[in-house]
Amino acid sequence: MNIKINHIAKMEGHAGFMASVLDGDVKSAKIEVQEGIRLIEGVLIGREYKDMPIVAQRICGICPVVHNLTAIKALENAMGVAVSQETEKLRTLLECGQIIHSHALHLFFLSLADFLDIDNDIELVKKYPEETKKAIRIREFGMEIVKVIGGRVVHPLTNEVGGFKKIPDQEALKNLLIFSKEALGVSLELGEFFRKIKIPDFERETEYVALSKNGEYSIYGGDIVSSRGLHIPVEKFESNFLELQKQQEVIKRMEHDGKSYMVGAIARININRNKLKGESYRYLASLGWKFPDFNPFHNILAQMVELIHFTEEAQKIIRELLNLNLENALTKEYKIKAGSGVAAVEAPRGTLYYHVEVDEKGYIKNVNIITPTAQFLSNLEDDIAEYIPHIMGLSDGKRQRKLRGFIRAYDPCISCAVH
């Protein structure tokens, strides 16, 4: 028999699903991508380096911040541009805001209804008005961070090679600090609500990959580390991981040692959980997971842990920024020179990787962008293939619903994956 879903809603981009099952054996399980190509890497070639963050962040309307950050970091590495600690802190805070608002959206508005057997969010918000308010509030906190530092939520404006065009004023930062206290309280309340949700029992062992750095739950720097013992600098990513395109496919998939692997919140929690402190540490402990944790549905709760963590982290960084001279974050003069650079930043959905080559005049010669969804797509399919036998006893409608929920728990972004 074939299991077919024409169109999976409530996620970014267009995709369906197709599986074929013979005598209880899953012969194939495939996400069918229906997204058109925009050729972002192609259109960048021959353009001035300054256009790259502006163009590349438009890969994604939900995570433009991380595309902007990674593009800029790769360009700085290519041209040997150093930036101040104030710049790095502002950028890390931007990424905290990015992850907070993306997670809040996914957790509550895209994925939650699947676990409560509700069809659409209009119904969801009617049934859970208080929780809706909280989800919106915490999302607003993430968005406010991006707005204050980046100048705008969707496609931010201030960050560029060498630093920031404009820095936030002290007053705005102080208001953010006040907001962060409220946001932390709200995120803990939301955490209590999510803890009570019934998550299906399902496990499949896989390899987790995330950025890791001594002493911190890293998102803006660090090495590439895997749960199977790999530890390499970001520069070695492309020589250790294989990017491949199947004929007629518009997503270039990734594999490690010939196998699929997983990135994103659940990967980060598995790899970096020991670096969590305070409320996020306590919340994770209260979930009672055994590590390594291989339940892909736990990605939802892993995002909840991170929602708390990045709210605490944002608060910490805002306090530090209030004691620093932000003038140092303003763009300083630098020399344009030829070079090749790579960078990786933790996006809400996993490690985002950029590789860029520029010529001596600053024109782009080559670009490669590897997104989280492109990395975990095969892992998702492998998971589903193993999950399907667990739900074969259900009616067609219920089975489809479970599958949609499974796919959405991964938080795929098809727009990013195709770009």
């Binding site: 024409n6 169109h7 809603a9 409530k10 970014e12 267009h14 229906q34 997204e35 058109g36 190509i37 925009r38 050729l39 972002i40 890497e41 192609g42 259109v43 070639i45 001035e48 256009d51 502006i54 163009v55 438009r58 890969i59 994604c60 309307g61 939900i62 433009p64 959206l105 508005f109 895209l110 209804a113 069809d119 659409n120 969010d121 209009i122 119904e123 918000v125 009617k126 809706t132 308010k133 919106i136 999302r139 607003e140 980046g150 100048g151 705008r152 939520v153 969707v154 496609h155 404006l157 065009k165 404009k166 395109q245 199947k246 004929q247 007629q248 518009v250 270039k252 949609r404 727009s415």
Partner: protein, 299 residues
């Protein structure tokens, strides 16, 4: 979707034949000359306009600009019947007639084109939602570069991948109104959307970005000899880019009353012709400028 239902209980006079029709359209008072019958009608009629938000190939940032309005957006959704909004609803679009459809993104795949054309047929009004649908956006850059060959930088196997030149949606369907910008401005959306729900097509005032930029108290970038497209671009974005220290790159499109020739002459001292042309490519402005220049020559 839960529907706010207007209950109508009225003693009215209807012609027998019209009874069914009236039930569909809402209750009308009619005077039937021959066979009149006094009946009591308890009717439940849905008066909310039917709206769909459809995304073609895009970053979906304009939909997020709507969602980012938070409670304001949810309040707005209460006033309409959302027939299709994939970001929030799992139900498949049943293909019913629409009062208003918002189209985001570029028609790239054959499916995109079909969706666009069918949306036009189903809807009384069709609006472009953002720069890609209205002006071609970032993907249009390939039209100015290697066109069909740009794909070779990205994919090894290109057979079977849909790769048409990028065309704005008004090349395929009639567009009644354009929400401008990359992304659109949520606040501006709230301003014009209610008017569209009433079936009216709003007009965006022919004012440059500079007007709002001045109101914001920004120092004009020209004073620092820095380029900016503000004077020739239609405002309504609250000058968000110059306020963040960035030049206006024209994502909202040319003002009807803007003077492209004069603008180019002013910018000559601040950027080379090549820089000017490259910058106009980012948001699909270049073809519009070329057309404006042709028109200016004719005049």
């Amino acid at each position: 979707m839960a529907k706010k239902i207007i209950k109508v209980k009225k003693e009215i006079v209807v012609k027998k034949k019209q009874k069914k029709k009236s039930a569909k359209e809402g209750v009308k008072k009619t005077k039937g000359p021959i066979k009149e019958k006094k009946i009591s009608v308890k009717e439940e009629c849905i008066k909310k306009p039917k709206v769909a938000i459809i995304s073609l190939t895009s970053c979906e940032g304009c939909q997020f600009a709507l969602l980012d309005l938070g409670q304001k957006f949810l309040d707005l959704v209460e006033k309409i019947e959302m027939v299709d909004f994939r970001l929030l609803e799992d139900e498949e679009d049943a293909g019913m007639d629409l009062d208003l459809v918002l189209i985001e993104g570029n028609p790239v795949t054959e499916e995109n084109v079909k969706t666009l054309i069918s949306a036009r047929k189903r809807s009384k009004l069709l609006c472009a939602l953002g720069n890609c649908a209205a002006m071609g956006g970032i993907p249009e850059i390939k039209n100015y570069q290697e066109g069909k060959n740009t794909i070779k930088h990205v994919y090894r196997y290109i057979h079977g991948i849909s790769n048409p030149p990028i065309k704005e949606i008004d090349n395929f369907v009639k567009v009644d109104f354009v929400f401008r910008g990359c992304p659109i401005s949520g606040e501006e959306f709230l301003k014009y959307f209610p008017e569209l729900l009433r079936g009216n097509i709003p007009t965006i005032p022919d004012q440059p970005v500079c007007l709002e930029c001045k109101k914001k108290g920004n120092k004009c970038l020209f004073l620092d000899k820095k380029p900016c497209f503000g004077p020739m671009i239609i405002g309504g974005c609250d000058a968000v880019c110059p306020t963040a220290g960035m030049m206006c790159q024209g994502c909202r499109g040319l003002r009807p009353g803007g003077n492209v020739k004069a603008m180019k002459a002013t910018l000559k001292t601040m950027m080379t012709d090549e820089e000017f042309e490259n910058t106009t490519e980012i948001y699909g402005l270049r073809d519009d400028i070329e057309e404006a220049e042709r028109r200016q020559k004719i005049v």
